[in-house]
Symmetry: C2
Subunit: 219 residues, 2 copies
């Protein structure tokens, strides 16, 4: 089983310190919600983000959305070979059941995430998505993988195919992909660092490379 | 060079016959546009779609969006090994320059497509995206590939890796992926049909499998 963690994902509700900023207030009103109930989104809250630490990388639910659509619709997931987790910048972990059908429409996905932040599970009966306060280190410990790899530009250069073969040779490998638009991990990352390309790649590109080079199935 | 065509994509402006439907009128007003200037979108125009032929599959700009994000950010595209085209249900072809950075935000992507339908090129200076009236057959003829493959559930069962090797053995292979949510191609498809999985896959999953199994590069 391959465990894939989208880590330090830029997924959060609007922080209190900018909840009264006009770009946030207007956006929330347009959607019929309170400012503190809406996801931070760089497309709409750009002026307010300038006032936040790390503002140039925060508010990117789109990255999580595309990574999840690719991972959950992959052949590896259909074959029961994949588990996906999202770890956020504020140390929350989202557990995703493999049968989850993530909304294809971005605005519906945003609504779903807002509901998850509020209720900690969605939907209430099936609990396809569940959120817990947890650090990346705690999540890794809990999964008990036989090896942990972190995808990082500064890691050991490795061909995607060769990395896929390494993953296939293990029982329970865990791969960590940064869920942020650029830059490096903020927290301590004491694991094996791997680089699959000479230049930075989008998070969903790395997710696709890992999953497809890992796949081992017979038609 | 691998040529990838997202074909019969469910990408179109709202058809005249439903432009006066309340779900369309309200949606257009909310966005400050005329009903005939907005993209058909099943998330918002569901009640109106019931009145259209093929209504259960139309209005899916999200499929094109995710396929383009995956293809254009792939390693193959970064390495200059890929050309991407979108062919729509109404026989328009969108030529996509490899250096195009598609908006990550879905709503911005929708705005960009609406501008493309209106102006036929965006942006006016760089012409990263260009739309022409053209059938799938005419596009294939124009590209002059050495072989054409159509991804189809009913095609010859082929492992993704083996298909990737076939593509790599050719100079200019062309692969056609249906840009619709389910069902089969509507027009005549007189080419080699390939199936890479025992069950239907989402269009973007097939795009990822093709591109990553085709990639041949050295770090």
């Amino acid at each position: 089983m391959l465990h894939l963690v989208i880590a330090e994902a830029e997924l959060e509700l609007v922080p209190k310190s900018i909840a009264d900023h006009s770009s946030v207030v207007n956006y929330a009103r347009r959607r019929g919600k309170k400012p503190e109930e809406v996801l931070l989104d760089s497309t709409y809250h750009h002026p307010a983000l300038k006032k936040l630490e790390d503002g140039e990388r925060r508010g990117r639910p789109d990255i999580v959305h595309i990574c999840l659509l690719n991972a959950l619709e992959s052949i590896a997931n259909r074959e029961g070979l994949l588990r996906v987790y999202v770890h956020t910048r504020n140390d929350e972990v989202i557990y995703v059941k493999p049968e989850t059908r993530i909304p294809r429409n971005y605005n519906r996905f945003v609504g779903l995430m807002e509901s998850l932040f509020k209720n900690r599970v969605v939907p209430r009966d099936l609990e396809l998505l569940r959120m817990e306060e947890k650090s990346l280190g705690e999540l890794v410990e809990e999964i008990e993988p036989d090896e942990v790899f972190v995808m990082s530009e500064g890691g050991t250069p490795t061909k995607p195919r060769d990395f896929g073969e390494t993953l296939r040779s293990l029982e329970n490998p865990l791969v960590i992909v940064g869920g942020f638009p650029h830059g490096d991990f903020k927290s301590e990352i004491p694991w094996n660092k791997i680089s699959i390309y000479k230049a930075p790649l989008m998070a969903w590109t790395v997710v696709n490379e890992i999953i497809i080079n890992f796949e081992h199935w017979v038609p």
